[in-house]
């Protein structure tokens, strides 16, 4: 086999020289003089150069040689027009960079598999009702469903993640997820060190155990596997460490957790329906079971559970069952697709731009092309030359695009609002780079094809501009397409800007300017009794009020307008002298908030009628409430609500915080916003 071109050349020549020398010898033997014999040998051989060339060609895969030629030629012609190259590469780099950055975000949301084995069988299910934005099951219902279910090979629940404090030498606020003992096995997660907790450890009075997230294990425990078995202080209680979660572990809700602990569900109490624990429920479908079949199999259990729902509310309760992935990306799917579509449009505009540049350039090269055609260049070869040039351009654009994508991505992650699933994981990995390479290739073909397909004409040799017509039409078409795509993009961008403008200017019913907020949570281990907490906040209030630049100061259990706040079912609000009709529909949820008297002054919320709270109301044994205008009119149509007494009934997911007390309506405030409900 020949590999090197020179060696091949040399050997073919030597082989044929040998032939010639033997032929010459033969001629000499027949009596010719030496030089005549050599000439005769050459004559008999025929075209020596051609024979050598054809022999060599057997060994050279022809395309590699010509591709190298094409590339060489393209680079040489690029060097002659640096302005053209710079413009084209920058246009492409912008398009490719933007689409790469967005793809790396969208890929995580739409296409990549979740970090659970057989994630396509994981289901998020529960009852959807106005009292919570997420589907849930009450503890009692969950226990019944778990006993009866046949569709899942594993069925599990968790209570969600909440704040918890590492109360050791260096106190740290963490997020603790509380889950059933079957939670990790159902998701298919095995701890990398230690073990999952057992069913016995998940009992209400069992000694506490916990699994650490990989990050916490590294940051606080030096990634030391011998930490297992040791005890830490969590919320002032001793907790034994039994395992470390894998690095890529994520909760199915995509919320952050540093620690996974047993939820220690008190099954007896739940079954008695004394205390309604909200659980989030997951299942792993048996192989071959479809979501529809599973859904149908849960219908009897669902109907059974409905009996415990007040009759008026039943119509508003639904059984909801989704594949985990669909549920996770529910809100972001459409946004992702729109964003992705937009950047693909940008890329198309860039391609059209570069195609136009290439066309302009090929117009300038018509004579050159015609000459090459006239001296025998094959048309296919010329097309390939153009495509080689455009592919070189697009790959240069792709390379620069990757650099740009890196910057775009960093910016995107930095400015993006919270709540985009897996955004922080978005990175330029090999999948994304493959996408970029593919995009560059497609872009190169797209804008390379147009000039390549224009048939060069021999008439161009004459120097008259005869062949302009079809090219002009193509360029016009490109410009039209470019304009059309731009209009789509601009319209979309305009609509988005409009929505943003409207959101920005939405009246909140309060003045957010110059308001600072902070959240303080007390460790229940240190402040077990409400009075202690009350004293703490009173001290805090006194001290903060003495700060020089504080004009007004208020405390509330949630930050308006839409932080997680208490909510109660409208139709369960009892008016004095008028018992609640349990056959009514829920009427939606009413958001309520516990505040200190200065709240209204601090946020500039006017009291329309009646009065706000005073310091003496805080110490009074009576309970007072201020209603929004809208609620007041809804509750007491045609009457003045002031002075009336109401009693909030069953509430949302923080049942125990609302006491069943009578509240006197003190005042009315404007109602400008509504808690978003699904």
């Amino acid at each position: 086999m020949f590999w090197k071109k020179d060696k091949l050349d040399r050997e073919v020549r030597e082989e044929m020289d040998y032939h010639l020398s033997r032929q010459a010898e033969l001629q000499q033997q027949e009596g010719r003089p030496a030089d005549e014999a050599r000439n005769e040998a050459r004559r008999r051989f025929g075209n020596l150069a051609q024979a050598q060339e054809e022999t060599r060609r057997v060994h050279i895969a022809r395309w590699t040689e010509t591709v190298a030629q094409d590339v060489h030629y393209a680079l040489r012609s690029f060097a002659r027009m640096p302005a053209f190259i710079t413009t084209a590469v920058i246009a492409l780099a912008l398009g490719i960079g933007a689409s790469t950055a967005v793809f790396s975000v969208v890929d995580r949301i739409l296409f990549r598999s979740l970090p659970y084995p057989h994630e396509d069988r994981l289901v998020w299910m529960g009852m959807a009702a106005p009292i919570d934005q997420q589907e849930f099951l009450f503890g009692a219902d969950y226990l019944e469903w778990r006993e009866r279910q046949t569709a899942f090979e594993a069925f599990t629940s968790w209570r969600g993640a909440s704040d918890c404090d590492l109360t050791a030498i260096e106190p740290t606020r963490l997020r603790c997820a509380q889950a059933e003992s079957t939670f990790l096995p159902t998701l298919g997660i095995t701890p990398i060190h230690g073990r999952n907790f057992t069913k016995d450890e998940d009992l209400p009075n069992a000694p506490k155990v916990a699994l650490l997230s990989h990050r916490l294990w590294r940051s606080h425990f030096g990634a030391n596997p011998r930490i297992l078995g040791e005890t830490i202080q969590l919320q002032g209680e001793p907790v034994r460490l039994i395992g470390v979660l894998p690095r890529d572990f994520e909760l199915p809700s995509l919320s952050h957790a540093d620690i996974v602990m047993p939820q220690a569900l008190d099954e007896a109490r739940e079954r008695a329906r004394q205390r309604q624990m909200f659980l989030t429920v997951f299942g792993r479908l048996k192989p071959g079971m479809t979501l529809q079949q599973a859904r149908a199999s849960f219908q009897p259990s669902f109907e059974h559970s409905l009996q415990f729902v007040p009759p008026g509310f039943r119509k508003e309760v639904q059984l909801r069952m989704n594949l985990l992935r669909d549920r996770q990306v529910r809100d972001t799917r459409q946004a992702s697709l729109v964003l992705f579509g937009a950047v693909v449009c940008v890329l198309l505009v860039a391609c059209a731009n570069v195609a136009n540049l290439m066309l302009a350039r090929s117009a300038a090269r018509q004579r050159e092309i015609a000459v090459r055609l006239a001296i025998g260049a094959a048309r296919g070869r010329l097309i390939r030359q153009t495509l080689t040039e455009s592919l070189l351009l697009s790959f240069a654009g792709g390379l620069l695009g990757i650099a740009l994508a890196y910057i775009f991505l960093k910016t995107l992650v930095a400015i993006a609002p919270r709540g985009i699933p897996r955004l922080e994981q978005a990175s330029l990995d090999w999948r994304v780079l493959c996408f970029t390479a593919g995009m560059s290739l497609i872009a190169g073909l797209l804008f390379g094809l147009a000039p390549a397909l224009i048939r060069p004409r021999i008439e161009n040799l004459t120097g008259t501009r005869a062949g302009g017509a079809p090219k002009a039409r193509l360029r016009q078409a490109l410009v039209v397409a470019q304009l059309a795509v731009s209009v789509v993009l601009l319209t979309g961008a305009g609509l988005l800007m409009n929505s943003l403008w409207r959101l920005q200017n939405l009246p909140l019913g309060l003045q957010p300017e110059n308001i600072l907020t902070t959240t303080v949570r007390l460790n229940p281990a240190n402040y077990p009794r409400p009075e202690q907490r009350f004293v703490f906040f009173q001290h805090l209030e006194d001290r903060l009020r003495r700060l020089p630049n504080v004009q007004a100061l208020a405390f509330s259990d949630s930050i308006p307008p839409s932080d997680r706040s208490l909510a109660m079912i409208y139709s369960m609000i009892e008016k004095e002298g008028q018992p609640v009709n349990r056959n009514q529909r829920t009427g939606g949820m009413v958001v309520c908030r516990n505040v200190t008297p200065q709240y209204f002054v601090t946020l500039s919320i006017p009291i329309l009628r009646g009065r706000g709270f005073t310091e003496s109301d805080r110490r009074s044994s009576d309970e007072y409430i201020i209603l929004s205008n809208a609620l007041a009119h809804q509750l007491f149509p045609g009457e003045e609500a002031l002075g009336k007494r109401i009693r909030p009934g069953a509430s949302g997911n923080t049942v125990h915080l609302i006491t069943f007390l009578w509240y006197s309506v003190l005042g009315r405030m404007p109602h400008k916003w509504r808690m978003p409900h699904k």
């Binding site: 050997e11 073919v12 030597e14 082989e15 044929m16 040998y18 032939h19 020398s21 033997r22 032929q23 010898e25 008999r44 051989f45 025929g46 075209n47 051609q50 024979a51 050598q52 054809e54 022999t55 060609r57 057997v58 060994h59």
Partner: protein
């Protein structure tokens, strides 16, 4: 016997393979062999012979190596390998079909 469908281009290759059947030889030797054996009726053109030899080598029907020949110069010797022998047998068979077929067509008129 399968009907002959190949074109006539395989003829040179057949001659080369057959010429190498007795033993390894170089290009000049193959030329001479064919000319002598055919009583001067066939003469192989050098311009076609060498590309054909290299093609056969690339198709792995021939092995080639440089050896010092009888006149003391280095020559490229070609040798039939197992695949080459098989190809030769097939080519001979095809040729036979071609010969019979052509003869019958020519005799018909």
């Amino acid at each position: 016997m399968q009907p002959f469908t190949n074109n006539l281009q395989g003829t040179l290759e057949l001659l080369i393979l057959k010429a190498l059947a007795p033993g390894p030889n170089h290009g000049f030797g193959i030329c001479q062999h064919i000319q002598t054996v055919s009583d001067g009726l066939l003469r192989v053109e050098e311009g076609s012979l060498y590309p054909a030899l290299h093609r056969l080598e690339k198709q792995k029907l021939l092995d080639a190596e440089w050896k010092v020949s009888d006149n003391g110069r280095r020559a490229r010797y070609y040798r039939l390998n197992a695949a080459g022998r098989k190809a030769l047998a097939q080519a001979e068979e095809s040729w036979e079909i071609l010969r019979k077929g052509v003869t019958k067509v020519l005799k018909f008129a």
